[in-house]
Amino acid sequence: MSEQNTLTYARVNDDIIRMLDKPTFKWWALFLPTLLFVGFGLFCFIYQVYTGLGVAGYRHPVFWGVYITDFVFWVGIAHSGTLISAILFLFRANFRMSIYRIAEGMTVFAVLTAGLFPIIHLGRPWNFYWLFPYPNQRELWVNFKSPLLWDVFAVSTYLTVSSVFFFIGLIPDIAAVRDRVKEVPRKILYSVLSLGWKGSNWEWLHYTRAYLFFAAFATPLVLSVHSVVSWDFAMSNLPGWHTTIFAPYFVAGAIFSGLGMVITLTVPIRKIFHLEDYITLDNYDGMAKLIMLTSGIVGYAYGIEFFMAWYSGSPAEWGQFYYRAVGEYALFYWIMVVCNVVIPLPLWFKSVRRNIKALFIISIFINIGMWFERFNIIVISLSRGFDPAAWGIYTPSWVEIGITVGSFAWFFMFFLIFLKTLPAVSIAEMKEILPVPKKEAKTS
């Protein structure tokens, strides 16, 4: 940890709180476009609600398309955040310290984005609240047997828990900011948010406990949520959806894509805010290793799907996977394979793992690849069901693309705001991994 030796407690505060200084031109240049695209996405949605879902590219028999793809994609992104903050916390993996705050922020905003899509894709979105079990004059409840309802519970739980977790982690740092800032409005804001944190041994005592429990909860939660999402498909009887490996396959995929996104986000931040001393090459090395692992799992899943289809002896199953590889959508399929399995291969070399540029590029490809993975699973399976008379091809419409772009803008909008309002690296936890100041150490 050669670089960190130069770090002192004071400097940690300085560096990290400096990130919250007045937004620069660069920041605005990034922020305003996001607003623009969010606006466009909103317009598309309103247009769709007004005219009818037909403005999307949907057609018999492909009733789900880009929207659900986006949903799964964003939920996936969310996962690595919790993974890094919770699971790695339980494993006491120190390389998480510097990046977990960013990752958690990413989680919260990704879930926030994902949560929109189930509503956007509804035929009658104005009735979305019927999916919640609320007492109503019809004396009618919801169908707890439906995977979609599991989704409602899983995603809303995930959103709540991850944002609380995010907030808890922030309290001491907000206090630190509070003690720094002078201008009144911000002072008040941070005072309120810090809940009067003083860092007394009492507070730390309960705080550490609570944090541990949160981590302990978040861990099974993160696994369950993406399993549930995968069951949206696995619970059906559609060839290409109806498989038992979906849960682990999706979870691995989620972590894979999430880590990809973390790298995509942290690399520029690290550069812009000069956090080289905080987000170190070791951190990246650790993440890269995880990517190697998950990429391997995903690759294995791709392979085994074909084997199972062939081994099942069902013409529908085999027909489906044969079609994936050579049918109208073959291009998308192979994009997916290349991005998710082939391109990450260089990570087996340490030099690549520690090469920021390479990592950045690979991470971008991973994001693309994982989006297409979801697209392929959803669209290709649907376009070739059991009954050949009902086969059909789906192509997204401009509305769907508009809303998808809007969702990315929506995500980055929140993320940029986060960078300027909350400490993006955990101050307290950075200090934990610095050597404790002792008089003896000094004198002797």
């Binding site: 028999p61 035929g123 999916l131 995977p147 059906s236 059991f386 009954d387």
Partner: protein, 978 residues
């Protein structure tokens, strides 16, 4: 008169008659309802109870067959047409065209009032009084000038009272009444005259036959009386104690009828006669003829099998096999005279077929000259040609056009259009702005069949009544009334007609029928009975006929073809549009054509080899050129057509005739030369050769099924006859189940569909559209596979070892009402669920549109409302008030006509009993001409449906998924030689 914003309909007037006008148009959306008015009757009509349907028997006039229909009326609106079980012709069934007659009635492009251009450039609306006055003046003026002979009344084949009235009227005016039928079947008449001395078209008894040999007679589509003969065919071809009749179809292309044959023999166009004689010869040679060939041995001996074989491209063994079967499987029957194969030698062909029947001893057995078709009385094509020439010479001063569209249906070469221009005064009675009516000077729109009194006698034994089921939608008037009131105004004609309304005239003419009817009681009871039964039906003794010796000396030739092109050109009549009449009805446009599943357009059928040769693919455009004209249309590559033949469907290519028909597809009639059948003088439809060239244009071929094979999914299953005879055990499917099977107490609604009977005609599809308010979405939407049909007829071409090398299978696929439905558990809001009577309920107003149910539907039969689809007024008057009209964002699917189930249960409850078997029929079942669909209660072990679902041939589609469907399919029986 308060005018309605939309369409300028006198809504108020209408409501005055129809009374309570709420309901229908409400949609499954959660918005607050607008202020609704309830308009009471001023004077309540007899026997109409708002909310309770009334049924009126009437007669369908969409084609000359004249099927009996029952029209369902709610609050004064006709909302559904069904076959009349009393009618001896269709005995309860109906075809797609018949179902769609309602969209003629409510067609938004109907002529809404009389029009004339007498004192204006363009056609201007005017009142009836004016219009009739205008006509009267013209007539008087003409009579003044003494040129009385120059009036012609050109109509379709209108038998019965109106026909008589017109005859009388023309007689009084010294004019002529010419009855023009697009498909007049002159050769049939002529051939029978030659062979038996009877110039009539007999009725056939296909149901009695065990072996049917058809030379291009497309009886499933348009031939003579499709519904009747389809029904007979399904009886003959259906499974009766482990045996089935055999059907062999001879035609250059595999039409829908041919697709239902056990053998399709692809014959060289125009050589059917030779083939028939060859077969006859073979029979006589092998001594299988009961009458030993009579005096025809000599004639037949000129047609040795080898020679015939090479003339007709039909292998020798096939000929001898057919001969063997035809003579051994008694009773057998050979029929012919399909429009698409009517060549210059059509009469000879049909004589040859008669000979074949005679040689096999079928005359009198399965052909009945006792009861002959009245289409026999239609005038021949020669009369039309002579009419046209006299029009051109300016010998016609007034031409009345009634219910025919000669500008569209006559070949261009005849120049009818130009000739029409030479007629100073053209009066059209058409209710639609078709190509002919456009050119009329005075349009006196007639009521549609559903709005007017009348009668029609399609054959000697049937006098069918037409009664008004509702008051006219628009300001139209029945032609009979117009004639009578005009006659009243013309001086000379005063007192000619005692009656002032056509209704009186009708009754008077029925008094004669009543007189003829023995023991019918007094006239009023007779009249009432006839109205209830839809007409008066009598049995006629069958007549025995003998072949005239003249036949022996007849010369038989091959058909002649004009044009240098290398391809025979077949223009075949369509079971959707008939002669183009149906093209303005969205239901028919959106009904997928059985073979291609194409909609809303036309195409040319091309053999794969030919396509390769021409360098075109599915969806490319071909330019077909004959000496008479050029058409450019889309290619459908089809193995069911000879490589040297191209074929295009008749009915599209309108240049007028309303928004749904206009500028859609091409009209192959424009390609045809003015050739006639030598002997009968009838128009020869198959008489030209065309050249084809690829043009640089390609589009998506808009169809509803993009696959041709089953991809080993075993959806439309078949069983070989030998297996069937051996007797297979019906495998009751039992997958291991996690949960105990479901119990039902009183009802478990189910259905059985016999694939051996289903002919793929699609009348169930249209019936379903009509009953369930299913939206038609137009070509652009269908191109995106967004058609809303609840039933689709799946069409699969199967490898086969028959002569054709392939076999076509049809399978009507609708919601299977699964006992273990995949769609149900995935719905988060219980919008779809399993009801205690085994129905898979779909609650529109609960649906939020997650569409998971559709994704998880094994059979992909759920349709989603991508938009709120609209019915242009007054098409929406047809909507069934008992069925919710769906709005955007809602899933929908086949409900087993739950509204009918509930209605039946309601009636049963009034009488404190259970619903009994066959008490009611669901829409598709009711319509099916082949009686392939049976619906009923599976809990009732005696019901027809439970019997059939335990049939040896019974199976569930995709049973391995264990959805436990409520629909059992009965396997098709293949008779391929082993």
């Amino acid at each position: 008169m308060s005018k309605d914003k939309k369409g300028g309909l006198k809504r108020r007037d209408f409501l005055k008659i129809i009374g309570v006008a709420s309901g229908t148009a409400a949609v499954a959306s959660s918005c607050s309802p607008p202020v609704e008015q309830i308009i009471p009757y001023v004077i309540p009509p007899e026997g109409i109870i708002p909310g309770v349907p009334n049924y009126y028997a009437s007669t369908c006039r969409e084609c000359p067959a004249g099927c009996g229909i029952i029209v369902k009326n709610r609050e004064g609106r006709a909302i559904k047409i069904e076959g009349n079980p009393e009618s001896p012709i269709n005995s309860g069934s109906s075809c797609a065209m018949g179902q769609a007659a309602l969209q003629g009635l409510y067609n938004p492009d109907r002529v809404r009032s009389p029009l004339s251009n007498i004192n204006a450039e363009k056609l201007q609306p005017l009142g009836w009084a004016e219009a009739e006055k205008a006509l009267t003046e013209k007539i008087e003026e003409l009579r003044g000038s003494g040129k009385t002979g120059n009036i012609v009344f050109l109509s379709n084949n209108i038998t019965g009272s109106l026909g008589n009235l017109v005859d009388q009227w023309m007689g009084a005016l010294g004019g002529k009444h010419i009855q023009y039928e697009t498909y007049a079947h002159e050769p049939l008449k002529e051939a029978n005259k030659i062979s038996f001395g009877i110039e009539k078209i007999p009725t056939y008894h296909i149901e009695k036959t065990d072996y049917l040999l058809s030379f291009g007679a497309d009886f499933v589509e348009t031939w003579l009386s499709p519904v009747e003969y389809t029904k007979q065919f399904s009886q003959m071809h259906g499974v009766k104690d482990k045996s089935v009749g055999r059907f062999v179809h001879v035609e250059p292309r595999a039409s829908l009828t041919a697709s239902n044959a056990d053998e399709w023999i692809s014959v060289k166009p125009g050589t059917e006669a030779i083939l028939a004689l060859g077969i006859a010869n073979e029979i006589v040679k092998s001594g299988n003829s009961p009458n030993g060939g009579g005096g025809l041995r000599g004639l037949l001996s000129q047609y040795p099998t080898d020679k015939v074989s090479e003339m007709t491209d039909v292998p020798q063994e096939v000929i001898s096999q057919i001969a063997k079967e035809f003579s051994s499987r008694k009773p057998s029957l050979a029929i012919g005279g399909g429009v698409s194969v009517t060549g210059t030698n059509a009469t000879e062909t049909l004589v040859a077929i008669n000979i074949l029947n005679y040689v096999a001893g079928n005359i009198g057995e399965t052909v009945d000259f006792g009861d002959t078709l009245s289409i026999s009385t239609a005038d021949s094509f020669q009369d039309i040609t002579s009419l046209v020439s006299s029009m051109e010479n300016g010998d016609i001063d007034i031409l009345f056009v009634y219910d025919v569209n000669p500008v569209f249906t006559l070949p261009k070469q005849l120049n009818f259009k130009e000739a029409l221009g030479k007629v100073p005064f053209v009066v059209s009675f058409s209710s639609f702005m078709d190509e002919t009516t456009e050119l009329a000077n005075l349009i006196l729109p007639n009521n549609t069949t559903i709005e007017s009194w009348g009668d029609y006698s399609p054959r000697e034994s049937v006098h069918a009544l037409i009664q008004p089921v509702m008051s006219p939608v628009f300001n139209t008037k029945s032609t009979g009334d117009v004639i009578l009131s005009v006659s009243g105004q013309v001086q000379e004609l005063n007192g000619k007609f005692t009656q002032t309304t056509f209704y009186d005239y009708l009754q008077d003419s029925w008094k004669q029928i009543w007189a003829g009817a023995s023991g019918a009681g007094d006239f009023d009871t007779f009249w009432k009975q006839s109205l209830e039964k839809g007409g008066y039906y009598k049995d006629l003794p069958s007549k025995t006929v003998s072949v005239s010796p003249a036949v022996a000396s007849l010369k038989f030739s091959e058909a002649e073809f004009t044009g240098e092109g290398e391809f025979y050109f077949i223009a075949y009549p369509s079971y959707k549009y008939y002669d183009g009449k149906g093209a303005n009805k969205p239901w028919l446009q959106e009904l997928p054509e059985a073979i291609t599943t194409g909609v809303w357009s036309s195409w040319v059928e091309v053999h794969p080899d030919t396509a390769k040769k021409l360098g075109v693919e599915f969806g490319d455009f071909l330019s077909l050129e004959s000496p008479q004209g050029v058409i450019e249309t889309q290619v459908y590559v089809y193995q069911g057509i000879r490589p040297d033949t191209l074929s295009v469907m008749i009915g599209q290519g309108h240049t007028s005739y309303g928004r749904y028909a206009k500028d859609r597809g091409v009209n192959p009639i424009d390609m045809l030369p003015l050739a006639t059948d030598a002997k009968s003088g009838g128009f020869a439809w198959l008489s030209t050769k065309v050249s084809a060239a690829k043009i640089n244009k390609s589009e998506q071929f808009v169809q509803t099924q993009y696959t041709t094979t089953q991809h080993d999914r075993d959806i439309a299953q078949a069983i070989s006859l030998t297996e069937l005879e051996k007797g297979v055990h019906h495998e009751e499917h039992h997958e291991p189940d996690f949960y105990p099977p479901r119990e039902y107490d009183r009802y478990r609604w189910g259905m059985a569909i016999d694939l051996q009977k289903c002919v793929g005609c699609g009348s169930c599809v249209t019936a379903c559209y009509a009953e369930n308010n299913i939206a038609f979405v137009g070509k652009e939407m269908v191109a995106k596979r967004r058609d809303m049909a609840w039933i689709r007829i799946e069409r699969y071409f199967e490898e086969s070892n028959n002569n054709a090398g392939f076999q076509t299978r049809f399978l009507p696929m609708m919601c299977q009402q699964c006992g273990n439905a995949p769609c149900e558990p995935v719905c988060p809001v219980f919008a779809t669920y399993h009801n205690p009577e085994g129905l898979n309920g779909m609650v529109y107003n609960r649906c939020v549109g997650t569409r998971y149910c559709a994704n998880n539907c094994t059979y992909k039969v759920r349709k989603f409302n991508w938009f709120t689809y609209k019915w242009p007024e007054p098409l929406d008057w047809q909507l069934n008030p008992d069925v919710t009209v769906r709005s955007k964002g809602v899933m929908e699917k086949c409900t087993f006509c739950v509204q009918r189930i509930n209605h039946a249960k309601d009636l049963a409850k009034d009488e404190g009993r259970d619903v009994s078997d066959g008490e009611f029929k669901v829409a598709c079942e009711q319509a099916c001409p082949a009686e392939a669909i049976v619906f009923g209660n599976l809990e009732d072990k005696e019901s027809e449906v439970s019997k059939q679902s335990h049939d040896d041939r019974g199976y569930n589609v995709l049973a391995a998924i264990n959805t436990q469907p409520g629909i059992t399919y009965l396997k098709k029986v293949t008779q391929d030689k082993a």
